[in-house]
Each structure stands twice: as structure tokens, then as C-alpha cells.
């Protein structure tokens, strides 16, 4: 733009300079007044010559070059206003309806409206300078030559000799005067002829006109060049603006697309979330995404050497079933926020270890995500009456369950055991066979209708300081107890007990 302005200024200066040169008036000086001696003949001749000269020089030549007004066309360039409106994407995940249980999952409707981009390119108004060229007015006035022969009065002497002498001197004087007059007249005539020649005037006029035309042509050329330059610059400016606008639009579109994609992904993720029915029928090693509610947690394993990240094992459940999350990536910060009832989203693989169906970390080690809002704390389901039906019990795997009216059994002595009296009376063992020590898992047995079942106080869930750990250590064979816990599985039912009440 600056360049354009400089060019226009230069053009103006040039045009003005050119105009100044060609409009300067050319004035022809009138010849000097010449007064010849007064003799009749000469006077007549002079009068005659003067008359001719007067007649010829009468014409005043006034040549005025036509005013050339060049006005460059006003260039108004207005870039098209670009209005881009990204398509409104409305994504609505299909409603998943599963017969038993009926879970309706409606992914959030994602409405993404990309911002309307209104870009108006600047209006470029380029006005070429008005070039006014006025050709010079040439006024040429031929000099008025007035020649008056001198009137001399000579007294005639009677004497003949004197007369002769006087006559001779007079003749000589007259001749001299005539000669001088002739010379003056000749010069004047020459000058008049030169000055007053019409052809010359015309020639001058043409010359001036030519100069004026050239000046005009030059001015026009420069004006055109300036105009062209201005137009080019205007085009370039418009193109630059257009490019910028396009880039801005492209960026916005990309961002909008990414935002839409993210929302789509989230929407898809939301729609990928399995209900318990889907999860239950998924194959082992299939990827799974679930939303569930924390019921209890084992200790955080910072820097799990098997995965290279912090992990935790969680007991979780929704209204339809239980999910055991084994070594799931979770940061210490999130772990601290995992309270009973907290809703979480988990991405992982379905797995099975020794009969226990669980969710393990996915390939990306996706962390547990807390979903703010609703909470759910499961009520324990009493499964005492179905304990002898393994397949029925299996349905409650990983859920919060209760056992009522169970009878504590004495622990079985290990092979070749020479257990002490205290050991023989104890109704629990450190470790499955008593090979552990304080702080290890506690194993104990309780029976119902003559069948004995094994129960565990998992030390990572309920450590030595917990009420249940202490309570189990106080159990005596024959005690009648109620229990609550989570239905863990290891080659069969092996509940992780969280509370024991002796009746």
C-alpha cells in the first residue's frame, strides 16, 4: 500500500512538472520603433510598407492548447465477503437396548457449530491523479512600424551656384536618409516577415501541440502505469487478504473438525461403553469399556514394575453386576478421590485368571477416569442359600455379597503339622496353609448345611489394622457369624471378607 502511494505521488509530481514546461507562454518581442528622415517618396514608401506591416502583423496569435484532463478510473476492489459456516454436526449415538437388563445408553448429542467466519477484504480505492495539461498560450504581436520621414524646410537661394551646391547637398542627404530608411525598413520587414510568418506560427503551434500531446501521452502512460501498478498492488493485496482469509478459514475448519472428531470420539466412546450384559458375553482378551462404581479399593501400587505406571486393584459394581479391576492404571491423585460409590470409566481388556473374570489394563495404559455426579453404593446380596450351587453363585462374581448364619470351622492342620495348642485352637491361618505370618492374608473356614467354604481377609484390602482382620483373629470354631465381602474367585468361590459379626 505504501508503495502504491509513493508511486501515485511520483506520478503527480511528474505530471505537474511536465505541465509546467509546456504551458509557459512564449512571447515574441516587438521590434524597435524606427523613425526614418522625412522625404515624400520615402514617406510614401514607408507608409506603404508600414501599412503592409500593420496589416500582416495585425493578427494576434493566441494558441491555447486544449486542457487535457485525465482522470484515471476509480478502482474499487472489494474482496468478496467470505462467510463460512461449518456444518453443524449432530451426533446421536444409537440407543442401545438390551433385553435383560434393559440399559438405555444415550450418548450426549454433540452439536458443534463452527464459528461463522466473516472476512471482508479491505476496499482498495485507487484514484489516479488528475493530470491537467494546459498548452501555453502563444501571443505573438508583430511590431507596429511607424516611419515618418523628417520634414525639412529648405530655403532656395537665387544664386545659381549656391543653388547647385545646396541641391547637391540635399540630394546627398536625401539619398543617405533614403538608404538608411531602406535599411531600417528592410530590417523591419525582415523581422516582421520572420515574426509574422503564418507558417511559422502554425509550426510553433504544432510544435507546442506536439509537446503538449507528448506531455499528455507521457502523463497518460505514467498514469496508466501507476494505475496498472496500483491495480497490481490492489490485486496482490486482495490476494494476500484472500490467502489469509483462506488460511484462517482452513485453520478454523481444521479446529472445528478436530473438535467434532474429539466429540465424536467421546460420543463413540460413550456409545462403546458396555453395559453389564455386553461385558458378560464379551470374550476373554476382548477390549472392553465400562462405567462402574467403586465399592472398595486395594492399596495403590506405585510404579508397578509390570506396567511401568501406578496401578490399583478395585472392586466395582453397577446395578447389574460386578467388575474386578486388576492392576488398572490410576494416578495417586485419582486414587485418593476414589471413594465408595464414585463413578468411573475404565478401558481395558477382559481377562480371566484362575476363574476370576477381571478387567486388566489396555495397551495404552488408559487411566481410570472419574465421572463426576451420580454415585452408587451396592447393597450386599445374601447368597447363603445358593452356596452349594457354583454356577448360580458365579452370577454374583465380584459383587458385594453377604453370608448369614455361617458356622466357623477349625482350620485344617497342614500335612505333617505339629501345630501348637494355640494354633490348633485358632480358626484362621496366615496364608492358605498357615505358612504366612502377621500381615499376610487370613484364611478361615465357615460352613452351612454341612458344607465348608473358605473365606479370606485380603490384606491389601483389609490390613492388620482393620476391624475385620482383628475380628477374624478372634474367631473360635463353632461361632455363628454373619459376613459381608466381595465375591472373589480363585478356582472356585473365595470371598474377600470385609466385615464379620459374631452372633
Amino acid at each position: 500500500m505504501k508503495k502504491f502511494r509513493v508511486a501515485v505521488a511520483a506520478l503527480l509530481v511528474t505530471a505537474l512538472a511536465l505541465t509546467g514546461c509546456s504551458s509557459k507562454k512564449k512571447e515574441t518581442e516587438a521590434p524597435k520603433e524606427t523613425q526614418a528622415p522625412a522625404v515624400e517618396a520615402a514617406s510614401e514608401a514607408v507608409s506603404e510598407a508600414a501599412a503592409v506591416a500593420e496589416t500582416q502583423a495585425a493578427a494576434v496569435v493566441e494558441t491555447e492548447a486544449p486542457a487535457v484532463e485525465t482522470e484515471a478510473p476509480v478502482v474499487e476492489t472489494e474482496a468478496a465477503a467470505v462467510e463460512t459456516e461449518a456444518p453443524v454436526v449432530e451426533t446421536e449415538a444409537p440407543v442401545v437396548e438390551t433385553e435383560a437388563p434393559v440399559v438405555e445408553t444415550e450418548a450426549p448429542v454433540v452439536e458443534t457449530e463452527a464459528p461463522v467466519v466473516e472476512t471482508e477484504a479491505p476496499v482498495v480505492e485507487t484514484e489516479a491523479p488528475v493530470v491537467e495539461t494546459e498548452a501555453p498560450v502563444v501571443e505573438t504581436e508583430a511590431p507596429v512600424v511607424e516611419t515618418e520621414a523628417p520634414v525639412e524646410e529648405t530655403e532656395v537661394v537665387v544664386e545659381e551656384t549656391e543653388v547647385v551646391v545646396v541641391e547637391t547637398e540635399a540630394v546627398e542627404n536625401i539619398e543617405e536618409l533614403l538608404t538608411e530608411a531602406e535599411e531600417v525598413i528592410g530590417e523591419a520587414m525582415t523581422e516582421a516577415e520572420e515574426a509574422l510568418t503564418e507558417a511559422e506560427a502554425e509550426e510553433k503551434l504544432e510544435e507546442l501541440l506536439t509537446e503538449a500531446e507528448e506531455a499528455i501521452g507521457e502523463a497518460m502512460t505514467e498514469a496508466e502505469e501507476a494505475l496498472a501498478e496500483a491495480l497490481t498492488e490492489a490485486d496482490e493485496a486482495a490476494a494476500a487478504v484472500e490467502t489469509e482469509v483462506e488460511e484462517a478459514i482452513e485453520t478454523l475448519l481444521t479446529e472445528a473438525e478436530e473438535a467434532v472428531e474429539t466429540m465424536m470420539t467421546e460420543a463413540e466412546a460413550a456409545s462403546d461403553v458396555m453395559n453389564y450384559g455386553d461385558y458378560a458375553v464379551a470374550e476373554v482378551d476382548d477390549p472392553v469399556v465400562i462405567e462402574t462404581y467403586v465399592q472398595a479399593k486395594q492399596a495403590l501400587w506405585e510404579g508397578n514394575t509390570n506396567l511401568g505406571c501406578d496401578t490399583a486393584t478395585l472392586y466395582t459394581q453397577d446395578e447389574d453386576g460386578g467388575y474386578f479391576l486388576y492392576d488398572i492404571p490410576v494416578s495417586p491423585e485419582v486414587y485418593e478421590r476414589l471413594e465408595e460409590g464414585t463413578k468411573i470409566r475404565v478401558s481395558g481388556y477382559k481377562s480371566e485368571w484362575a476363574g476370576e473374570v477381571e478387567v486388566v489394563a489396555d495397551d495404552d495404559l488408559t487411566e481410570v477416569e472419574i465421572i463426576e455426579g451420580e454415585k452408587y453404593v451396592a447393597e450386599p446380596v445374601d447368597i447363603t442359600d445358593i452356596l452349594d450351587a457354583e454356577e448360580e453363585v458365579k452370577i454374583f462374581m465380584n459383587q458385594k455379597v453377604a453370608f448369614t448364619g455361617m458356622t466357623v470351622e477349625a482350620v485344617a492342620a497342614g500335612e505333617g503339622s505339629d501345630e501348637t495348642e494355640a494354633e490348633a485352637e485358632a480358626a484362621f491361618m496366615y496364608g492358605w496353609d498357615g505358612s504366612g505370618s502377621e500381615g499376610d492374608d487370613l484364611y478361615f473356614s465357615a460352613s452351612k448345611d454341612g458344607k465348608v467354604y473358605t473365606f479370606v481377609v485380603e490384606s491389601y484390602l483389609c490390613g492388620p489394622d482393620s476391624d475385620v482382620y482383628k475380628a477374624v483373629k478372634e474367631l473360635k470354631a463353632g461361632d455363628t457369624i454373619d459376613m459381608e465381602g466381595f465375591l472373589y474367585w480363585y478356582e472356585g468361590m473365595q470371598p474377600h471378607i470385609t466385615s464379620v459379626t459374631v452372633k
Partner: protein
């Protein structure tokens, strides 16, 4: 307060300098242990013994008996037993307690772990002087029990405790891995069980066992579940395969050779069988013994120390009786690359002693350690599983020979599979090998197993296990186990471990370092003051 900070900083700097200087010289101690001339039996000592058992109450009982027997001989020494059921927990606890100066006195461990322990200053006691001591060493004159002489400890096992030229561990029990085979199913599939299995053989039979009936059950067992080949310790699997195929694993100096082309080929092969579900691992599925005993596995590879869990008549069972299936169990060495040149890993617990300020306490610890090598303890403990006593004195004893001869006479103390497993390592002691021990060798071992676990999971999850996958896996594994941080010790003479520096030298060096630090601090302080002015 500021003064205190200065003192602390100076002390820390001096300590750091001393550690650095000491570190240059290998295992360094300001209180290195020297064997006392005599042991003061009248002075009371209380020592702690961290023991590992195989979740086996009988082993616990034997430990307790060993403690009681020792305390009877040395009534002023009180031994506190703390029980663990896996090496990992002991390792982690020791590491934690090194920093607080509360290590146990005696500890069951692996040489790989000792290599890490001894990076601390004089944490672990070198045993060379104790072993050779006339009065209290192996077969020493002042011992109150009939312990083995040095030449009665199986030399191969004895040398396994040597790290950087020094003896840091005594062997306690030895085992290897064995393949427990459901011979009944192998023959049902139309194969014979050879004396030595090859990898080709085991893959072929395993794939054959995957054939199903029209009803979707497996032909060989009629069940819905069949994992023909299950491996308990995949780190051992990789290590033994590399050894058998002559591929690199590591150098004694700590150079990691694991990530090589042979490893890639092995992983491709293994993953192919994991994809078909003919092969799985403990970490993915569960204990091989449980599947074997339920008739859902044909080849179960586990330690000989897990023999009591294997087979229809196994004394220890983790599945309900109604799930047990009857079949004939045979024990073979792990599959081999070259059946004429067997190679199998040597493993099993060793014992190390942690240093304490009181040399008498350390000597008491050593006496107890030796007591664990007596025939009574060795024979009793080896009988709990498919272990092998580490002394020829025990192996050749009449008692132990009778024990072996009674194999199969019952399904408890003389359970056939268990004694077969013990015989396996006894017969192939010369075929056993151990991997180099260095600071980081425990991580390398974990990494070896991780490679197999990862490709198996990947294959099961329908991933393509190709070159790019393996390349990424190698990189991730190196990072995960910090293998790029292992310092390779120089193999040349100049960098050879010269053993502990004398205390006076350490003190002098520390003083020199401290002086330099003080000079430096003075100069810095002076410059700062000058600038402020």
C-alpha cells in the same frame, strides 16, 4: 538454624565425596567386617532370619525346627524368624531396610538380588574369610554342630554365590525347572514321551491337542478348556532358550545382549502358539499345576520345587477334588534345542549375611547360616519339595539315599513326582547354568520374561507380532526395566574390582574430600561477600 544447614550441607558433601571415592573401588565399607578370633558364647545376641517358603507349611515347620535346634546349641543366640512366600517381597523389604539400617542378619535370597544389595556401603558381608576360618569356618574346629567342610558343598552351587570375585552367598537349596507331563494325553494324541523333549516336539504335540470335537470340546480331554503347554516362569523360559540356542543374554560385566535376532525369532515362534492358544503362561492364565491336575494341560513347566503340586495324586492341590482328573505324570527336563547337549537353569534359595556394627553379631549370623547346611536341615527341607541338598555330605548320606529309594511308596513324603524332580537336578547338575550376576541383572531377568508375556498377550489380542512390533517392544522393555542405565563394568585390568579399601584409606580420602569441599565453600562465600560490598 542457618548454621545447622551449613553443617548438614558440609557433612552431606563430605559423605557424598567419600561415597564417590569409595564407589570407585567397589564394595566399600567404613566398618568392614573382620572375623573375631573367638566367639563370645556368653554374650547374648538376637538375630533376625528372613526366610522364604513355597507357601508350604512343612517348610515353615522345618525352619522353626532349625531355629530351635540352633538355639539349643547356642542358647545365648536368639533367632527371630520372619516368613515370606516370595523372593520379590524379601527383595523389596531388604532394599527398604538398607536405607534405614534395619536389614535382617540372615536372609534367604537370590544372587541377583545380592548384586543390588551390595551397591550399598558394606551392606552384605563377604563370606570368604568366614568360610575359611579355622575355628568357625566350614568344618571349623569350634563349631557345635556337624557342618559340611568346604569341599563338601557342591562346587558348582558354591561358586554361584560369588560376585565380583567375592563370596557373598551360601547355597541353601537347589532346584531347576522340570516339565511335568500328562503322559496319558500325549499317548492319546498318538505320541510317545521321549527322554529329552525338544522345542519342536512340544510345539507339535501342543498344537495337535488343540483339535476339537463337533460339540466344541477338545478331543483330547472332552472339556471346554485346554491349554496344552503352560509355563510358570517365562524369564527362565527365555533365558534357557537363549542359552540352548547359543544366543546372547548378558556378559558378566553387565552388557545386555538380550535384544538380538534369536530373541526375535523365539518370540515369533512363541507368539504363534499363544495365538492358537496352545501355549500360555502363569501370568496370563494361572498356575500350570491347576490346569494339569484338571486335565486341561499336557505340558506344565514349573520349578522342581513345585513338584508336590503336580499330578493326580499331588499332596498339595489348589482345585476342588471334583475337578481332579486321573492321568499318569512323568517328569522331564525342560525342552531342549540340542537333545544331546542339555542345558537347564540352576536356581533355588541362597543365604546372605548383612553387616552389623558388632562383629560378634555377624559371627553369630554366620554360625546360624552354617547350621542351615547341616544334614538335618538339608535333608528335611529338600524333602518338602523337589529340592536337592547343596552338600555332597547330605546327598550321599544314608538317610537321603533311603529317601530317594522310597520314591512312589506313598503319595506324601515319598511322592513319586517330587522325588523324580529331585533326581532330575541331581542327575543333571553338570548341565545346569546360571546367568551372570551384576547390579541390574535382576531387572534383566524380569525383562526377559516380560518379552514373552507381552507377545503372548499381543497375539491373544489379535496383534500382528512382526518386526516393527518387536522393535517397539524391545525399546519399551529397555525403558521399563531401565536396562539402558546398567553400568557395564570394565573388563580390563584397570577397572577390575579390587575389593574393599582399608578403613584408614577411606577415612583419609573422606577427610581430603571434606577439606576440598570446605575450601570451595569458603571461596564461594568470600566471592559472594566481595560482590555484595
Amino acid at each position: 538454624m542457618r548454621k545447622h544447614w551449613k553443617i548438614l550441607i558440609l557433612a552431606a558433601a563430605a559423605a557424598a565425596c567419600a561415597m564417590l571415592l569409595g564407589g570407585c573401588h567397589g564394595g566399600v565399607s567404613t566398618t568392614s567386617f573382620a572375623v573375631p578370633d573367638t566367639f563370645d558364647e556368653d554374650a547374648p545376641h538376637e538375630i533376625t532370619f528372613w526366610a522364604k517358603n513355597d507357601t508350604n507349611k512343612t517348610q515353615v515347620k522345618i525352619y522353626n525346627e532349625a531355629v530351635a535346634g540352633f538355639e539349643k546349641l547356642y542358647p545365648k543366640i536368639k533367632v527371630n524368624l520372619r516368613l515370606y512366600t516370595n523372593y520379590g517381597d524379601i527383595y523389596n523389604d531388604v532394599i527398604t531396610n538398607i536405607s534405614t539400617g534395619t536389614t535382617p542378619n540372615v536372609c534367604i535370597t537370590y544372587p541377583d538380588h545380592i548384586a543390588t544389595y551390595k551397591t550399598g556401603q558394606n551392606v552384605v558381608v563377604p563370606l570368604d574369610d568366614l568360610v575359611g576360618d579355622d575355628k568357625y569356618g566350614l568344618g571349623g574346629s569350634q563349631l557345635k554342630f556337624d557342618g559340611p567342610k568346604q569341599d563338601e558343598v557342591i562346587p558348582q552351587f558354591f561358586e554361584e554365590g560369588r560376585i565380583d570375585g567375592y563370596l557373598y552367598a551360601m547355597p541353601f537349596m537347589r532346584s531347576t525347572e522340570a516339565c511335568y507331563i500328562n503322559k496319558t494325553y500325549v499317548e492319546k494324541l498318538g505320541y510317545e514321551v521321549p527322554d529329552v523333549l525338544t522345542w519342536d516336539y512340544i510345539w507339535e504335540v501342543s498344537e495337535a491337542a488343540m483339535e476339537k470335537d463337533k460339540d466344541g470340546t477338545f478331543k483330547v480331554n472332552g472339556q471346554n478348556v485346554m491349554i496344552p503347554f503352560l509355563y510358570k516362569s517365562t524369564d527362565n523360559m527365555m533365558i534357557q532358550m537363549l542359552q540352548q540356542y547359543g544366543a546372547g543374554y548378558s556378559t558378566p560385566e553387565g552388557e545386555v545382549l538380550l535384544f538380538n535376532d534369536t530373541t526375535k525369532e523365539l518370540l515369533q515362534e512363541i507368539s504363534a502358539h499363544a495365538r492358537s492358544r496352545a501355549f500360555s503362561t502363569f501370568k496370563i492364565s494361572s498356575y500350570p499345576a491347576n490346569f494339569l491336575n484338571a486335565g486341561q494341560c499336557i505340558f506344565a513347566i514349573d520349578s522342581t520345587a513345585g513338584a508336590t503340586w503336580m499330578g493326580s495324586d499331588a499332596p498339595l492341590v489348589d482345585i476342588s477334588p471334583d475337578k481332579l482328573v486321573r492321568f499318569e505324570t512323568v517328569v522331564r527336563p525342560v525342552p531342549q534345542a540340542d537333545p544331546d547337549h542339555l542345558q537347564m537353569i540352576s536356581q533355588g534359595p541362597s543365604v546372605c549375611i548383612f553387616n552389623k556394627p558388632d562383629p560378634q553379631e555377624v559371627l553369630a549370623s554366620w554360625l546360624f547360616t552354617q547350621y542351615l547346611l547341616t544334614n538335618d536341615v538339608q535333608i528335611a527341607y529338600s524333602g518338602t519339595e523337589g529340592y536337592l541338598p547343596v552338600t555332597s555330605k547330605a546327598q550321599q548320606s544314608e538317610e537321603y539315599q533311603e529317601y530317594l529309594a522310597a520314591a512312589g511308596t506313598d503319595t506324601k513324603d515319598h511322592y513319586q513326582v517330587k522325588i523324580d524332580a529331585s533326581r532330575l537336578i541331581m542327575d543333571h547338575t553338570e548341565d545346569t547354568f546360571v546367568t551372570p550376576v551384576f547390579n541390574g541383572s535382576a531387572s534383566l531377568r524380569d525383562a526377559a520374561g516380560y518379552l514373552i508375556e507381552d507377545v503372548c498377550k499381543g497375539a491373544r489380542r489379535k496383534k500382528e507380532i512382526d518386526d516393527s512390533y518387536l522393535k517397539e517392544l524391545f525399546n519399551n522393555t529397555k525403558k521399563l526395566y531401565h536396562l539402558d542405565q546398567i553400568e557395564v563394568s570394565g573388563a580390563d585390568e584397570n577397572s577390575r574390582d579390587l575389593g574393599p579399601l582399608p578403613v584408614t584409606a577411606i577415612t583419609l580420602l573422606a577427610l581430603l574430600a571434606g577439606a576440598w569441599v570446605l575450601i570451595g565453600l569458603y571461596m564461594i562465600t568470600d566471592r559472594i561477600r566481595t560482590r555484595r560490598k
